[in-house]
């Protein structure tokens, strides 16, 4: 076996162990108390999983993107909130890692992420932009002493209070248009987070994502030099949709596994008879299967396109439509699978304290269509489909 395959295997073995031994036993209390899954994140830090995707030259684990995606899936099977925190952190790290040209500050920063296992959150959505990540209101503003400062009103910042550093999207300058954006990485000791509102949602309760007013003063080199549109098209958008959909698939897969365990238990009680729920389980399988295929093929498309040094295909409309479609399809299908699993298990699935409970799975996956709203993505695809030819 090659070194990279060994690394991937070792990483996934460690993630599965954490998912089973740490994330699973804490998942109910994380959900009930809407508390940050600190045990999972500390265990991931202990395995240096927060820098797994980084190249070894930067002190990272040199793990493949496919293995990171599989890690999101494995954590998703045991605790949706832990998986979401892990995925969102990886999205920022992988995005920065892919755009390090002429950005020595960012190379040094990523080495610090590896060294100190720093957790990175993101401040992308903003009050007043209607959830459109392609526009910003808050601007990078030069100060008299050559620094850069900003103040951003964020309606949600996932694990904002628990992160070390923040990845912030902003307008390039006070006189820039809303679509002329940059990425700024602000360190914990440069940040001031003023909490706004509370966090008592239906699902993904452990992500602890209330609103904040985010203020920071940073050095000019903490503004990523790579063009924002390139970063979005080549990395941020596809990586986000792929890692999110892997963890949603993980949650849906565990709901399926619970439904199957329920059917097996009832089959054992009535040997020789196929229990009625077995037929519903077969229907459930047919709902899970296309979700699984879509998630896997999107990963393959992205990995293949990333092997081309120019990453040309990722900037095409065809690619934009493809990964947008993954997002809306997975976000629609994952809660459907969980609801059907509840239909298989009946009342023991509906109750929160049985081995067949799937309420948390259903609630967690219901967040999927809201995180970058499906309707907004459909709106984008609708306009792309007017012009793109071969989709």
């Amino acid at each position: 076996m090659s070194i990279s395959v060994d690394r991937d295997q070792a990483f996934l073995d460690a993630i599965r162990l954490i998912a089973d031994d740490v994330s699973a036993p804490n998942s109910d209390s994380v959900d009930r108390e809407a508390r940050f899954p600190i045990e999972s994140i500390e265990a991931l830090r202990g395995e240096r999983a927060l820098s797994a995707a980084l190249p070894t030259e930067l002190g990272g684990g040199g793990v493949s993107f496919g293995a990171i995606a599989a890690g999101c899936f494995e954590l998703g099977r045991r605790c949706g909130s832990s998986a979401m925190v892990f995925a969102m952190h990886q999205i920022k790290v992988i995005t920065l890692m892919r755009h390090l040209d002429d950005a020595p500050w960012f190379s040094e920063y990523l080495a610090r992420v590896a060294e100190e296992q720093r957790l990175v959150a993101s401040v992308t959505t903003e009050i007043g932009t209607g959830g459109d990540m392609g526009r910003s209101i808050a601007a990078v503003t030069p100060t008299d002493d050559g620094m850069r400062t900003f103040e951003k009103q964020a309606p949600v910042v996932s694990y904002g209070a628990h992160a070390d550093d923040h990845f912030v999207t902003l307008r390039r300058a006070p006189d820039s248009e809303a679509s002329d954006q940059v990425i700024v990485l602000a360190l914990k000791d440069q940040l001031e987070l003023e909490p706004k509102g509370t966090w008592d949602p239906l699902g993904m309760r452990g992500t602890c994502s209330p609103g904040f007013v985010v203020r920071a003063t940073v050095a000019p080199e903490q503004v990523l030099p790579a063009p924002f549109s390139t970063v979005m098209a080549e990395s941020m958008v596809p990586v986000t949709h792929i890692l999110w959909s892997h963890l949603w698939l993980g949650i849906a897969t565990d709901a399926f596994d619970r439904a199957r365990a329920f059917v097996r238990a009832s089959a054992k009680r009535t040997p020789g008879e196929t229990p009625p729920a077995a037929i519903r389980l077969s229907h459930l399988m047919s709902e899970l299967s296309p979700l699984r295929s879509e998630v896997r093929s999107a990963l393959e498309d992205f990995v293949k396109a990333s092997e081309d040094p120019s990453r040309e295909w990722l900037s095409t409309m065809q690619a934009a439509v493809r990964f947008n479609n993954l997002k809306v399809a997975a976000a629609d299908q994952a809660p459907r699978v969980c609801q059907s699993a509840m239909g298989v298990c009946g009342i023991v699935g509906f109750k929160n304290d049985t081995p067949y409970s799937v309420g948390r799975h259903l609630r967690d996956t219901m967040s999927a269509s809201l995180m970058i709203a499906n309707e907004r993505i459909h709106q984008t695809n609708a306009s792309l489909l007017l012009i793109a030819k071969d989709v």
């Binding site: 392609g134 248009e177 679509s179 549109s229 040309e312 095409t316 984008t380 012009i387 030819k389």
Partner: protein, 91 residues
């Protein structure tokens, strides 16, 4: 030959930008190599620009040309249109 062949191509592109790109500033003052996205053209507006260009110049942009870099300035749009026309002339 179509009506679109008459007159200066740059001016015709500029008119389409004026009608469809929804820029905040004055399109006439915009240099041919200025970044239209930085000037405020959204992705949604860029699709309308592409549709209008296809209609006006009677061309179809193939998928490989449907990237941000092709539509980022009046000059890059003009280069793409010239390339499409020379391809059409050869075939």
């Amino acid at each position: 030959m179509t009506a679109a062949d008459d007159g200066n191509m740059t001016d015709q592109i500029r008119q389409i930008i004026r009608d469809h790109a929804r820029l905040a500033g004055d399109v006439d003052a915009l240099p041919a190599d200025a970044d239209l996205y930085s000037a405020g053209m959204t992705s949604h507006a860029s699709v309308n620009v592409m549709l209008a260009l296809e209609d006006h110049f009677d061309v179809e942009f193939p998928d490989r040309m449907l990237t941000r870099s092709v539509f980022e300035s009046i000059a890059s749009i003009e280069a793409a249109l010239i390339e499409l026309r020379s391809e059409a002339a050869v075939s």
